[in-house]
Symmetry: C2
Subunit: 238 residues, 2 copies
């Protein structure tokens, strides 16, 4: 394109219909923990991940030979193979696996985003590889934060801000994008110590209550993988 | 109540249905310029302001002896008595006047908010008086940012953050309110120089394009009035 592309930030799936994404790349973000776990799954050799809406739909994939994963309200659902912790994807069974996954926020956001020109998966874990990909594509970008049950959350906004910071030389950040300005400022406030910064945030407390602090620390680390999963048909692949 | 009340920030009217406000005070915020102008109207002696949805509805009030105001896309609508500039409310005709007003964002947000226990009008211009009122009421508060056509904007978020800062000793800001944390941080980033801070924001640029920079400067000044307008029936009064 003849102009620098824009980068927009959509704070929750509820606001997504305000964005025209027919020509844009949408980066779906659910830092704690769905999109972080997805990136790790591909790093450990997963073949595909089908994001599904309901626990029942996920169960149906079991009969097709898929590993199935389900998380609701922060916890793994009984009877499933995998939860939503990135560590549960660092196992030999993941290599070559077809996976069907449903989570409270992240997989719902992927389904909402599927009207876009292209849907990719973002996390701190693949931040640099993701940004290299976006710079190379040279298209308008919308970062879709999954939020928590459609409400704004800080951790997804921080990643959107971190993406905006990495893209600022190649993208147009100066015009008409208040949400991008806000996300970038919040990220700068965190000064690369996201774990401390998120100390007061709601999801961190929810996860701390669930004794999965190690997940949180891991999901806030940058550049553990170069995988940039994208949606092809109804499945994420790399 | 036996606990400290909460303060929540709703970034746009689109997200308002996520909040249970049946027992809460909703502060409607449209800094540039509807709620700023409303506060000034009462400072200059307005009797009541009826927020209406459409230009046609506003015209119907003309026949009832009301002054009528309408703004769309940042500009005064032809044939109306008043626009959306606070300076247009600093005139002798405002004293004792009944006013019907429709604006792009602010009056729409008031209508959305009307399901709340109580609806009050917030601006930088009445910031201290508003916060004194909220502390005295000791109820949960939701700051409803009008945004711009349902999108997030910085100036309304800054005021929400300024309210949160003034209430932090009397309200519970530490639990489960990511949007409040974000608004407060952004406000702290502005370091009380909101005009400079907003330099890059979308609405500031829209208004600058319309040559109403004086409006912007005025609307970002704190404590020009002690009026705290509130909704009674279908009209704002003090």
């Amino acid at each position: 394109m003849n102009r620098k592309p824009f980068i927009d930030v959509c704070f929750t799936p509820t606001l997504f219909s305000l964005f025209d994404v027919s020509e844009s790349i949408v980066v779906v973000i659910d830092v704690l923990r769905a999109t972080s776990s997805m990136c790790i799954a591909f790093e450990y050799g997963a073949n595909q991940i089908v994001p599904v809406k309901t626990v029942e739909e996920s169960l149906a994939y079991k009969q097709k030979g898929f590993l199935i994963g389900a998380e609701r309200h922060g916890e793994m659902v009984d009877g499933f193979d995998i939860g939503n912790s990135p560590f549960s994807y660092m196992e030999p069974k993941i290599k070559g696996a077809n996976i069907a996954l449903t989570t409270t926020n992240g997989t719902q956001a992927i389904n909402v985003a599927s009207v876009a020109h292209k849907v990719v998966i973002g996390s701190f874990l693949n931040l640099s590889a993701l940004c290299d990909y976006l710079i190379n594509e040279n298209r308008d970008v919308v970062c879709l934060c999954s939020g928590w049950k459609n409400s704004f959350n800080l951790e997804d906004t921080l990643l959107a801000g971190a993406i905006a910071k990495k893209l600022e030389n190649n993208f147009n950040l100066s015009d008409h994008r208040d949400s991008t300005i806000a996300a970038k400022l919040l990220c700068e406030n965190a000064q690369n110590n996201f774990y401390v910064f998120l100390n007061d945030s709601s999801h961190r407390k929810r996860l701390a209550d669930l004794h999965i602090d190690e997940d949180v620390k891991f999901c806030l680390e940058a550049d553990k993988t170069k995988c940039v999963p994208y949606l092809s048909g109804n499945a994420l692949i790399v």
